[in-house]
C-alpha cells in the first residue's frame, strides 16, 4: 500500500501531456446487454464478449489490447515512477511488442476514456471542469495512533491512505458536478481549517498540487474519474 509519504513530486515532471484514465469499468459484457455504445474496437459479433468501460452516459467497448492500455494508464511509469505521457506509454508498449501504442492512446482519448493534461493553468482547469471524482470505496477515517493519516476502503480492506487534505477532496467530491468545483469549495474549507498552510492560497495552485494525489487514488482504485454530465449546468 502506498502511504502519503510515498507521494512523489509529480508536478515537477516536465514532459507535456500527462495521461489520466477516465471511466468506470463494467467488465466483460455481451454486446446485446448494452444500450447504445461506442464501438471503438471495430465491428464484432453481437454474442462476443468484450470489455466495457462507461464514461458519462455512454458505455465504450474495448478489445483486450485497448483495455490493457487503459488499465496501464492507471499506474505510474515503473521505470521513472512518473505519470505516463502519450510518448512514454507508447514507448513502453512498443518495448513489449505492441507496435501501435500511440494509435491506441489516440483512440482512447478520442473516445473520452483518457484525458491529456498539459502543464498549463488553462489545460488543468479545463480538465478539472470536465471531470468529476467518483469514489469506488468509502472513507474509513483515521486512527488514534496516526490521526494525520486517513484511510479509504471497505470493511477491513484499506486501499489507500492519504493526507487530511486529500481526504477532504475525497470527502467532498460526491456532491459536486466537477473536480474544479470540488477544489474551489475545498480551498475555502482548507483555508478556514488551516490545512492550506503548506500550499498557495490560489485554488488553481491547490488543484495543481492535488494532481499527483489524484493519480495515487486512481492507481489504488480508490476513485475513478467520470465525465461531467452534459446535462449539468
Amino acid at each position: 500500500m502506498t502511504g502519503p509519504a510515498a507521494v512523489k513530486d509529480l508536478t515537477a515532471h516536465t514532459e507535456p501531456g500527462i495521461l489520466f484514465p477516465l471511466g468506470q469499468p463494467v467488465g466483460l459484457t455481451y454486446a446485446f446487454d448494452l444500450p447504445a455504445s461506442k464501438e471503438i474496437s471495430g465491428r464484432r459479433a453481437a454474442d462476443e464478449l468484450r470489455y466495457v468501460v462507461r464514461g458519462g452516459r455512454t458505455p465504450s467497448t474495448l478489445d483486450e489490447a485497448q483495455y490493457r492500455v487503459w488499465r496501464l494508464a492507471h499506474e505510474l511509469d515503473p521505470l521513472i515512477g512518473q505519470p505516463w505521457t502519450g510518448a512514454s506509454i507508447s514507448g513502453q508498449l512498443f518495448a513489449h511488442g505492441v507496435p501501435h501504442g500511440q494509435e491506441t492512446v489516440d483512440r482512447l482519448v478520442e473516445a473520452e476514456l483518457m484525458a491529456v493534461v498539459e502543464d498549463s493553468d488553462a489545460s488543468i482547469v479545463s480538465f478539472a471542469s470536465s471531470v468529476r471524482v467518483c469514489p469506488l470505496f468509502v472513507g474509513l477515517g483515521n486512527s488514534p495512533e496516526e490521526p494525520g493519516i486517513f484511510h479509504i476502503g471497505t470493511g477491513s480492506i484499506t486501499v489507500a491512505s492519504v493526507t487530511p487534505l486529500v481526504y477532504l477532496l475525497f470527502s467532498l467530491a460526491p456532491q459536486h458536478r466537477d473536480l474544479f468545483e470540488t477544489v474551489v469549495e475545498m480551498h475555502l474549507m482548507a483555508q478556514e481549517s488551516g490545512l492550506v498552510d503548506a500550499i498557495t492560497d490560489n485554488p488553481i495552485e491547490l488543484l495543481r498540487s492535488l494532481l499527483p494525489a489524484l493519480l495515487q487514488l486512481l492507481e489504488s482504485d480508490a476513485i475513478y474519474l467520470d465525465l461531467r454530465s452534459s446535462g449539468d449546468t
Binding site: G27, P135, V138, L140, P144, T154, S171, P174
Partner: protein
C-alpha cells in the same frame, strides 16, 4: 408474514468512517457527507445504529426494515436503539420508507444512487445469470443477479431513483432476468436491490437537491 408494519430503513450520505479527535473533549465521531455538508454522528448508540442500518449483518437478506435493525441493535447491546434510530431519521442520516406506493414514489423522487466498486461482468467462466462486482486487486469479489448488476451499472446515471425507474423499467427482461409492470413496481423492487448493494459496500444514497430544498426550514421572512 406481511412487512407492512415494518418500514424499510436506508442509510443516507457518503460514509467517511470513524474519526479520532482533533476535538479537545476527546470524543470519537462518525463522519458522513450529508447533502454536501461534512456531518458528525457522535453518541455511541447512534453510531452503532448507523452502521447497522447498512445491513452488513443481513448480507443475504436484502430486505430489512426498522424492526430488523432494532433487533440487531438489541442483540449487540446498543442502549435505547429506538431513540437512536429516530434521532438519526430526524437528522437526515437514515430514511424510513413505509411500504406504500406513495411513500416509495416520494423516496424515489428525492434520492439518487451512486455506485461503488468495479464491475467484472459475466466473464467467460461465469455462465448463467450471475455477474461479478468487487475489486479483485484488493481481494474483494462477489456475485449478484443480473438485475442487480444492471441497476448498479445504469441507475447512477439518472438524477434520481424515480428517473432511473422510468428508464430501467423498459430494459428487456432477457437482459435483467426480471419484468416489471410499472416504474413504481420497479422502485419497490429497487429498494431491495439497493439494500443488497449497500450491505456489500457497492452503493450509497444521496438526497437530491430538490429533497434538500424541501427540508423543513423556518418560514421565509416576508418584507412589505
Amino acid at each position: 408474514m406481511s412487512d407492512d408494519g415494518n418500514p424499510w430503513v436506508l442509510p443516507l450520505g457518503f460514509p467517511l468512517g470513524v474519526s479520532y479527535p482533533r476535538h479537545k473533549d476527546g470524543r470519537i465521531y462518525e463522519s458522513v457527507n450529508l447533502d454536501g455538508d461534512l456531518r458528525e454522528i457522535v453518541p455511541a448508540s447512534r453510531r452503532a445504529v448507523w452502521r447497522l442500518a447498512h445491513g452488513a449483518w443481513s448480507i443475504d437478506a436484502g430486505n430489512w426494515g426498522r424492526s430488523d435493525v432494532l433487533a440487531a441493535a438489541l442483540e449487540d447491546g446498543v442502549d435505547d436503539p429506538e431513540e437512536a434510530l429516530d434521532l438519526l431519521i430526524s437528522d437526515g442520516f437514515i430514511a424510513q420508507i413505509e411500504r406504500s406506493d406513495a411513500a416509495i414514489e416520494k423516496f424515489a423522487s428525492e434520492h439518487s444512487v451512486h455506485a461503488l466498486l468495479v464491475g467484472y461482468g459475466v466473464g467467460a467462466e461465469l455462465a448463467g445469470n450471475r455477474q461479478m462486482l468487487g475489486s479483485i486487486e484488493h481481494g474483494l469479489r462477489f456475485m449478484v443477479d443480473r438485475d442487480v448488476f444492471d441497476f448498479w451499472t445504469w441507475a447512477q446515471l439518472e438524477p434520481d431513483l424515480h428517473s432511473a425507474a422510468n428508464v430501467l423499467v423498459n430494459r428487456p427482461a432477457e437482459i435483467t432476468g426480471r419484468e416489471y409492470r410499472t416504474a413504481t413496481d420497479f422502485s419497490r423492487a429497487a429498494i431491495s436491490i439497493i439494500q443488497t448493494l449497500i450491505a456489500r459496500g457497492a452503493l450509497y444514497l444521496l438526497r437530491t437537491s430538490a429533497a434538500v430544498d424541501q427540508s423543513p426550514t423556518v418560514a421565509p421572512e416576508v418584507r412589505i
